[in-house]
Symmetry: C2
Subunit: 428 residues, 2 copies
């Protein structure tokens, strides 16, 4: 039997505590599968005194994650602190420099610095693994970088933030306005310390950036991903979309487009009968389309102690077995310079606006859209609060540039109150 | 750049032809990801002359798969001939003996001889991979044996035969009887040469046997899996189940039970709103539940040239990268002796029978069930062809042994015509 694999665990929050529990609870199972014992040499967290209902006896303690990363009795540095800069970045860099393998759940760190870290890790011939950073317990990183390695990937899309999916699903189920459900989610502790990371789509976009790199063989690049949060999704939008057979989801979509890649994270209408349309609560789902496999769908818990720690443990067992694939699916120095194409793919758009309730107003709206080359598939004006009339429009396929022009010309009609809401329709 | 990885491809049917096309079409992609070129040294098939619309120039030819397996210019023997014995078994054994890696899509071979082959492969330190053998393009073997390695698996269930799911879905969608849809499927070429492999549940049970071994750390054992096909599922059953909020699927279910494992492949009622209940057409789906991950769901094409070849190619790229995990998730010599427990888990059952349409008949049925300790949740008698009255019963949780006793005692009531139909209800 080989020597044990020795972990240094930095961060004892939800995921870190979950990992410690798995290592303790499933030690025999993990040893049988990994071919060697997996033990925790030492841990590190902000406050040593804090009661975590964890048995840390026999594990060393470090106050400084960098010191933990450099310990001689650590083979794998497990970074579960989070944060795109600061201690997480410093300690991961230190671990790689010291020739330690790294497993992390840190999407922000990798979205911002993933390429440099991958180059360093491959140079040092150590693993840098991050299954837990994308969609929690769903093995999407492994599926994309290993199982589907024979495919030219044509599209990756999915729901990658459970909090946003909880909010949107709950709004629909209970008919409640965004603000009310946001408060509920906050009370339930579903939101990040900075909620805009969730509802602003940034957390989900970090994850999409990692999948784009693997799927399309590019260096990780967070800039250039179009990001729109769910703050502007109203209960009216959800009801009107449902009325037309759609659900609204915060959807990440990436596809090859010309000589580049189109990547966006935004509220989209998806068919209610599709797996994405039916995705409930805080669940995540990633759909991958490739030239050979056609389409596979992976669904599971996107967060939480057990599922995220499960993904971390999967990476650790791979390292125990010496299964170390390139960080982003091919050697980092061979990854292409990213070229971001803004929405070149025409899709239908859902448009919602409030117009003055007076003769000719609707005609002006229709005319403005036509002038911009946006043709109307369905249009509906429905009763609402006087003197304003809400108008719903489903366009035929158009590119965002045309839609932007159309929205500009709507502004000058003088009949549209405020800014129209526009969401893409993504067929799955 | 390392030496190219040289394949010997045995079998040029749907999957074999698909693999040759991927190797040719995505050569640059595969080289970038695998770190080396993947080339086909030679192929082998029944008839050399047959027009396959394939460019085989530059590939050697062998009439004998065993000779192909032993060629000096073959590093990986790819067995895509099928069949549990004969040339497939002989050539895979020859390849391992000659120190070649093996990739196969052959569920029958592995279900019957998987343990012996795994022992031989691990002894010879070569890979034996079979992602394509279970659920086509769905990466379930890798998910179970690698991604979820930190979990104690509590239940594995799924739809693993696309043809049966097509038949059952089509019966429901079109309201057609089994026989008619069976003919359709046959005309569409969906059925195996021996259709009982599909509709009898054997093909799907082969796949389940492989998943059981990985999930529960046992030697592969096909015997002892309870198997019931879909031949007895009538359009009436499908309609009545739907009326109660269920769909009928040919479902493989495996769970730990006492000191053994319960494994069955049989028609089950699943909630219509669940991912399994909504699974359309020939699609496959596998649901895995573990102590940390809770539940993940994988959905995708269960067969077809592209998807199955995609899975084969994923295994090949792993070998190109020297990622070789134990065949069944842990070293074969450490796998436990299988202990099969017959249905110890109580579940509700759907019971359908035809009784004589005369006073007291229903009472006799209810009494017989009660005597056997099977309590009735819902019971319904509905109009049908005189003089017989169809009766539907949904029981409360009970174990199959009690249900069997109940069915025996029904026979002696003298009011039940023929054999009652009984299907499990599986909650997901």
């Amino acid at each position: 039997m080989a020597d044990p694999l020795r972990l240094g665990v930095a961060g004892l929050g939800t995921v870190g505590a979950g990992l410690v529990r798995i290592v303790q609870r499933n030690a025999r199972l993990v040893e049988a599968r990994g071919g060697r014992r997996v033990i925790i040499s030492a841990v590190c967290a902000r406050s040593r005194g804090k009661d975590r209902n964890l048995d840390l006896d026999g594990h060393g303690w470090e106050d400084d994650p960098v010191a933990l990363a450099r310990r001689d009795d650590v083979d794998v540095f497990v970074e579960l602190m989070g944060g795109g800069e600061g201690p997480a970045k410093a300690s991961v860099e230190a671990a790689i420099a010291a020739g330690k393998h790294v497993v992390t759940a840190n999407k922000a760190l990798l979205a911002e610095h993933g390429h440099a870290l991958a180059l360093a890790a491959e140079e040092a011939r150590v693993a840098l693994r991050f299954e837990a950073a994308v969609a929690g317990g769903i093995p999407i990183v492994k599926a994309l970088s290993e199982s589907l390695a024979g495919n030219e990937i044509t599209r990756v899309l999915g729901v990658m933030n459970g909090t946003c999916n909880y909010i949107l699903t709950r709004m629909w189920d209970a008919g409640l306005p965004y603000e009310t459900v946001f408060e509920e989610a906050s009370d339930l502790g579903y939101l990040e310390a900075d909620p805009t990371l969730d509802v602003g789509g940034i957390d989900a976009a970090h994850k999409l950036a990692l999948l784009v790199s693997i799927a399309f063989g590019e260096r990780v690049k967070f800039d250039g991903i179009e990001i729109e949060g769910i703050e502007r999704v109203s209960i009216d939008d959800i009801k009107q979309a449902a009325d037309m057979g759609y659900r609204i989801k915060l959807l990440g979509v990436a596809r090859r487009s010309g000589n580049g890649v189109e990547a966006r994270m935004s509220p989209c209408l998806v068919p209610e009968g599709s797996p994405l349309g039916q995705l409930p609560g805080a669940t995540n789902m990633v759909v991958v389309e490739g030239d050979s496999v056609n389409q596979i769908v992976l669904r599971g818990p996107g967060a939480g102690e057990g599922p995220t720690a499960s993904a971390v443990m999967g990476d650790i067992v791979d390292i125990a077995r010496n299964l170390v694939a390139p960080v982003f699916g091919q050697p980092a120095e061979t990854l292409a310079e990213p070229i971001r194409i803004r929405g070149a793919t025409p899709t239908p758009f859902y448009l919602r606006m409030t117009i003055a309730d007076r003769p000719g107003a609707l005609a002006k709206v229709a005319h403005a859209l036509g002038e911009a080359g946006v043709s109307i598939n369905r249009m509906r004006q429905y009763r609402h609060s006087e003197p304003h009339a809400p108008v719903l429009i489903m366009t035929h396929d158009c590119v965002p540039a045309d839609l932007d022009r159309a929205i500009e010309s709507l502004a000058v009609t003088g009949v549209v109150e405020g800014d129209p809401v526009a969401f893409r329709v993504e067929e799955v």
